[in-house]
Point group: C2
Chain length 362, copies 2
DNA sequence: CGCTTACTGGTAAGCGCTTACAGGTCGGGG
DNA sequence: CCCCGACCTGTAAGCGCTTACCAGTAAGCG
């Protein structure tokens, strides 16, 4: 018991074994619940472990088992060194990551997060770094080209989020089509708006492209007019949305009756910019979002949007990846359903105050 | 060149060496930029690496080097299985984590995220799990008791965020005192409000306690009246803030002239709840936050709050941890400065529309 | 009471990588 | 023309842990 435990110098299973007077194999067995150790053995080991505050080394474990119990997640960040104001467009990503993390915990996995700056040329290197430290990786939108994915997929299972399917990876996304269709239908048919615009997200984003395409198809199908062009190019951020409105108004162009934003963040910026200039939402211009991030309901006016099952997308991405990691073969792409959430910003009446719609699950 | 590469079965440095016709030592040296390989050797190795899309195994590397290049981050999550509406209180935490992550990248580290449910009894186990997979860990508020920290700190360097300092760990926090003092001063002296209340956060949170304490001291110092008691107990979430207002109003109690919320999320819920009931902010009741999360500026009215350098706190936490990991000794606790950010919710006039205050970094 | 059966616990072989050390090659000086 | 040093490169040990395999022990049975 008078073991001199070195305050530095890593503590290993050997130290525990010595203290407990058993072999390292027994320590390992007790720690992992393998075999059937005698109660006494178990007791001695546990005692030594507590005594030393021993925590087994994950790297050694991983090397031995061939399983790190880590999934990597890689996504794009706004700027590089600049902190302020840049990172407001990440609500959605954070939500997804949370879903991944919760699902991962159920399997004893942890999540290794790595973001890549917008113009970071080391993206591939960074992804490789994560790949080496994980059993599988989840790539958010716009991280790697199809061939890049294919290459990497030879080393490690990959799941993409809102990306384009590859034969080497699985994609998890949501049903942009029916969401956008429901939204346009609501605005044109139920509210009767005849003049709309789509404020787009990143041009390269598959989600954005799908939404834009369906927006155009659906509006023209009902004979509504739309504004388009580079002036309506946003970037998924609030600043981007506000910027579009600012230039538009400065140029003295007239606003459409309804602005369909590529995501909630953009809508947030748009509503804010309009309010600043005295344009009333939804009376003068209706605004809608996409995603239904948690703050959407707290805006003024509260935001009509398409609810994506954000955390569930993350959880699904993990589950699919996990089944690939454990070898249970090839699930195919997953498309999750979305739902139109009507609030005030489209022109619908406010919910009754009696139902605060706050913190009350379903 | 007609190597049969097994699509399964891990690819190792041996495979690369064989393909390149060199030894594994050379491969390792090329990959890590050690030694001075002949250009030709380097070329052959790089070619083989690309050919195979080889990514070295992080676990093996870590085992060999004694460095995983991973920091763990652990924090509390809202609910366990329930997804909806629960996780809105994490804006602040996400911001910090982002800061950690960016700082970590500069050192080639990645961030291992793990959350613990509010009532999760496995907290310690979960933290140990992360500890085994990382070189050091950062603990958010309320994760572990002082003695728990002390024990774990024998195995691995620890930094706490907004926690209480221990001799075994370093704490990084922000200057709650001067922030709250500035806020109370602004409300009482400049706006002349004489009747305030503090809507608290988690009772156990050191930040919350500090803010509550200073709030009381500062208000009584200027002779203002305050409402207190269990009715004003929130939990850092929007739902919690809304709930407090709801009960208060139902009970027919009268509202103070200004409500100082423990954080921005709470303020968000409060503003929303007041608006639903027709109480005007700031005309009838002023509301303030704490943190200055990105959405604070987009609220209606925009939120007066105390800006914490959120991402910088994360970055600082990492830097401190890193210096402990690399053995460069014991920095001591860090307290970062905060700043009063005046917007509309306290009764100040709106900023001029000409300065949209959007996306324009300082 | 001796032998079989059922367990428990220990020994040692790797997991993939880094790196100290030794061996081989080549060029230049004596 | 031979020897030495400078440089590369290869061999092998070891990082901490899991686990197959075997030895030792105790209980069960004839």
């Amino acid at each position: 018991m008078t073991e001199t435990k070195r305050p530095k110098g890593t503590l290993t299973i050997y130290d525990v074994a010595r203290l407990a007077g058993v072999s390292i194999a027994s320590v390992s067995r007790v720690l992992n619940g393998q075999g059937t150790p005698r109660p006494e053995t178990r007791e001695r080991v546990m005692h030594a472990v507590r005594e030393l505050s021993f925590v087994p080394d994950g790297a050694a474990r991983a090397l031995s088992n061939g399983l790190k119990e880590v999934v990597g997640v890689v996504f794009r960040r706004g700027g590089e060194a600049t902190f302020e104001d840049e990172d407001e467009s990440l609500l959605f990503i954070d939500g997804i990551n949370r879903g991944i993390e919760v699902a991962a915990q159920h399997r004893g996995f942890d999540v290794l997060i790595s973001s890549v700056g917008v113009h970071d040329s080391h993206a591939t290197a960074r992804i490789s770094g994560v790949a080496g430290k994980a059993d599988g990786i989840i790539l958010h939108d716009r991280m790697l080209s199809a061939v890049g994915i294919a290459r990497l997929a030879e080393m490690i299972p990959i799941v993409t989020l809102a990306g384009s399917p590859t034969r080497a990876s699985v994609n998890v996304g949501c049903d942009n089509d029916s969401g956008m269709r429901a939204l346009v239908n609501h605005l044109t048919v139920e509210h009767g708006y005849r003049h709309l615009a789509y404020l787009s997200g990143h041009a390269a984003s598959p989600d954005n492209r799908a939404r834009a395409r369906v927006f155009e198809a659906a509006t023209t199908a009902v004979g509504a007019e739309i504004q388009t062009g580079p002036a309506w190019q946003g970037n998924y951020s609030a600043a981007g949305g506000a910027q579009v409105i600012a230039s538009l108004l400065e140029r003295g162009g007239d606003l459409p009756r309804a602005i369909v934003c590529a995501n909630d963040q953009t809508a947030l910026g748009v509503i804010h910019a309009l309010a600043r200039r005295g344009v009333r939402v939804p009376d003068d211009v209706a605004v809608t979002g996409f995603d239904d991030v948690p703050v959407a309901r707290h805006l003024h006016p509260s935001l009509t949007t398409i609810r994506q099952p954000i955390e569930q997308m993350g959880a699904t991405a993990f589950d699919v990846l996990y089944s690939r990691i454990s070898g249970n073969g090839g699930e195919s792409d997953v498309v999750l359903p979305v739902r139109l959430v009507l609030r005030e910003s489209c022109g619908c009446p406010p919910a009754s105050p009696a139902t605060p719609a706050l913190g009350v699950g379903a």
